[in-house]
């Protein structure tokens, strides 16, 4: 979470009021309208990312414990090479998404839509690539319960893949302009937060899988 966001979180809310001496605000205008502010969706997403991070940290700590357990049943697995390509694709999608957001801010709507579509396509490629990686693993006779290393491989990739699937849904919903309560600026910001987080999370998971060998 960026530092300015944290500072913003602490300062916003009730700090300032005009002090006109009324027990109630004057109605549906300005600072007095308590309708859901757009920033709440960003806050909600940051919190959700906190929860998701804790979930993966729990899995990773289980990996640390299980791998260090001294009983010799941990057999390192050969990672499918396509994972490297998938990693590149997912990293690239973060850059295209950032570019799409920049185009939106600059008012170049056509470019924004173009790069948004490219991001969604890259996300789909990533998921297809992950499924191919699974097929390669299964073809070599490594199943979920074959040994703890393969268990964690499937666990990590499945848990991350399901979150990416959710991210794809978010990209589509925003791309089709189906967000009713969020402005386009907020919707793209929330989706981008989630997508970049999933990219970073994959780098962490992939690093773990590589180290494991």
């Amino acid at each position: 979470m960026p530092v300015d966001t944290v500072a913003e979180l602490l300062q916003r809310g009730g700090g300032g009021h005009s002090g006109n001496g009324a027990p109630f605000g004057s109605g549906r205008e300005g600072n007095d309208n308590p309708g859901t502010p757009q920033r709440v969706y960003v806050t909600g997403m940051i919190l959700a990312l906190g929860g998701i991070l804790m979930f993966f940290m729990a899995l990773i700590s289980a990996w640390v414990v299980r791998r260090g357990f001294p009983n010799g049943d941990w057999q390192p697995i050969e990672l499918p090479r396509i994972l490297w390509l998938n990693t590149l694709i997912l990293a690239a999608s973060s850059f295209t998404l950032a570019r799409s957001r920049r185009c939106l801010v600059a008012g170049r709507d056509a470019d924004h839509r173009h790069w948004w579509g490219v991001t969604a396509a890259l996300g789909a490629f990533f998921l297809v690539g992950q499924i191919l990686a699974w097929r390669q693993m299964l073809a070599t006779g490594l199943f979920l319960a074959t040994n703890p290393a393969s268990s964690f491989f499937y666990l990590f990739t499945a848990a991350h893949g399901l979150h990416v699937l959710g991210g794809m849904a978010a990209l589509l919903v925003v791309g089709l302009r189906s967000t009713r309560r969020l402005t386009l600026e907020t919707a793209t910001r929330v989706a981008a937060l989630y997508w970049h987080f999933l990219g970073g999370l994959w780098l962490l998971i992939f690093a773990i899988l590589v180290v494991e060998r």
């Binding site: 009021h17 009324a22 109630f24 600072n31 906190g50 666990l155």
Partner: protein, 596 residues
């Protein structure tokens, strides 16, 4: 007319608006107040089931050979007793102690107290409740599937909980349902906690700074942070457990395990890993249960002492400190797991350090009472009862925080007595105090005071009669989880004490009928309540009773002062609601004119 009563008039006149039709309004509602009440009534059902299970256990401990018509076979087996333990603990911890203080009262009151018209994400809020209800239904289903309910305790320790049917009745389908129910509950709680935190951060009324938040809001806010971090970990642990059970993985299942003469094929995992993951959730869960009660008690003690909360800032920081330290002490549940003594010492030191913020809270509660003009209404009695139980249970906790002492006492009734008093009964007293206190706001009617006082005294004395002797049984070596200790020579001497505790339990449970009668009678027949019957200061008392769908009837309160301005010198009334502006007056006290 004072500006306060004028404000109240404006609000009570406001049309309620909102969705029409029974289903949209009361069943699939996105209104935080309706959802709060849904959680409340779910918790009432759950606490009834959980209490009946505990009474069955108490009965069986004293009369183990009694014929029970509803038990298959007539006489309760040890496995059936363990199933009662498991389901009692699970139902009480998740569907009562988590659902009532946080999800029910937090949902109902947090938006009101910060001057918001609803939660940040109303539809997510509705989803949270329906997931929780689904989790409850799945959990109840464990009673009726073949094999019955699981026998591994609410902590579901592996390998027992990971083995499946071979480990005993209830470990097949029953334990699977338990795990699925917990996973569903986790999702509901995670969504709920995101909602609570985002609402507190972003939806506060103008002027509602962090240091003007009622302590209840501080407690719900910090509790939600604990929920977000802890339930995410339990969710991960639950998935690993389910995989061990259904997919043949070996995260928790140890190597070379022979169960009922059969060597288990999946193995090599670490049962202790489950304990670590579970208690990383489980200890914060204790504070998820008790922190909202602390907020409620601070709130009520100030109201009925007609004094500001003593040391408001210290109270707010103590809540944060307890929440933070709560994540560093899970190992004290595992002293007997064979952990490194240095780890034990570390966990022990961190655990006793929680005594510091806990003592801050306790002394500040006493400081709030000190010199106050105390009014002993029902909510106040239960709030004081909370302080009593928190101190009693907290002190036995300091003993248990010593690894050497805990090693002796861990498997005894001493631990049962400790956590029931500090986590169970104290939290329940917080819930009851909140019920009596906010009932007029929630339903526009008052509960009966005399019945409330009878309920309090019977429950207060009854609970001590149940759990005080239990400490002595524990110190003397009475082992918990035994279905029948009558055949064990050195335990036989405790039977008279057990009989006393069982009778006390039945009397205390019967006293709750007074509460239920009072609750449901007052819902329809209670005397109509004023908008602010307790002369309280926080924003929920500015709204109508019950508040309209948008809470403040199209008006949005502004906040000018702290939450507990009681008996302010110079003011004409002894309470100043948070939305009353200060009057800039050159001739005297700024507080004098506006309240008149």
């Amino acid at each position: 007319m004072s500006s306060q009563s004028r404000a109240a008039d404006d609000l009570t006149r406001a049309p309620s608006g909102g969705p029409q039709g029974f289903l949209r309004r009361y069943v699939f509602s996105t209104d935080h107040k309706v959802i709060g009440l849904q959680y409340f009534f779910l918790a009432l059902v759950a606490v009834t089931v959980g209490t009946i299970l505990s009474l069955l256990m108490r009965f069986h401990l004293v009369w183990p050979a009694a014929h029970l018509p509803f038990v298959p076979g007539g006489i309760m087996t040890p496995e059936q007793y363990l199933a009662l333990i498991t389901m009692h603990g699970t139902i009480m911890v998740f569907f009562v102690l988590t659902a009532a203080p946080q999800s029910a009262f937090g949902n109902y009151l947090l938006p009101l107290q910060i001057g918001a018209s609803d939660m940040a994400f109303p539809r997510l809020n509705m989803l949270s409740f329906w997931l929780t209800l689904l989790a409850f239904v799945v959990m109840m289903a464990a009673f009726v599937v073949p094999g019955g309910a699981p026998i591994s305790g609410w902590t579901a320790y592996t390998p027992l909980s990971g083995l499946g049917e071979i480990a005993g009745p209830g470990e097949g389908m029953g334990q699977s349902l338990w795990a699925f129910s917990i996973l569903i509950f986790c999702v509901g709680s995670l969504l709920g906690s995101i909602n609570f935190i985002a609402t507190t951060i972003d939806m506060r009324a103008p002027g509602m700074t962090l240091m003007r938040l009622p302590l209840t809001v501080w407690a719900w806010f910090v509790t939600a942070i604990l929920s977000l971090l802890a339930f995410a970990v339990l969710f991960a642990a639950g998935i690993l457990l389910v995989l061990d059970r259904v997919a043949g993985t070996s995260f928790f299942m140890p190597a070379g395990l022979v169960v009922n003469g059969v060597l288990q094929t999946n193995g090599g995992g670490s049962p202790l890993l489950w304990q670590h993951l579970f208690w990383f959730f489980g200890h914060p869960e204790v504070y998820i249960a008790i922190l909202p009660g602390m907020g409620v008690v601070s709130h009520i003690l100030a109201n009925f002492s007609r004094k500001p909360v003593f040391g408001y800032r210290a109270m707010a920081f103590a809540i944060c400190a307890i929440g933070f330290l709560g994540f560093l002490v899970w190992g004290h549940h595992m002293f007997v797991s064979g952990m490194n003594p240095y780890s034990g010492l570390t966990f022990s030191l961190l655990t006793v350090s929680i005594g510091v913020p806990s003592a801050v809270k306790t002394f500040n509660w006493l400081g709030t009472l000190w010199g106050g003009r105390i009014q002993f209404h029902s909510p106040m009695l239960f709030a004081i009862g909370f302080v009593s139980f928190f101190v009693t249970g907290g002190l036995s906790g300091i003993f248990l925080a010593q690894p050497a002492v805990d090693t002796t006492l861990h498997a005894t009734y001493y631990v049962v007595a400790h956590f029931h008093i500090v986590m169970g009964v104290a939290a329940i007293f917080g819930i009851l105090a909140a019920t009596y206190y906010w009932f007029p706001k929630m339903f526009g009617r008052s509960m009966d005071e005399s019945l409330g006082k009878i309920h309090f005294w019977l429950t207060f004395v009854g609970v001590y009669c149940i759990f005080m002797p239990m400490h002595f049984v524990g110190i003397a070596g009475g082992i918990r989880r035994y279905a029948d200790s009558t055949g064990v020579a050195y335990l036989a001497g405790f039977q008279p004490l057990h009989r006393f505790m069982t009778i006390a339990a039945f009397v205390t449970a019967a006293a709750q009928l007074v509460f239920f009668y009072n609750l449901f009678w007052s819902l329809r027949r209670g005397a109509p309540a004023a908008v602010n019957p307790w002369n309280a200061t926080t924003l929920e008392w500015v709204a109508a009773s019950p508040p309209p769908t948008d809470n403040f009837g199209g008006r949005f309160p502004r906040v000018y002062r702290g939450p507990y301005e009681y008996s302010v010198p110079g003011a004409e009334t002894d309470f100043l609601p948070q939305n009353i502006p200060p009057v800039s007056d050159t001739t005297g006290s700024t507080e004098q004119r506006h309240a008149g």
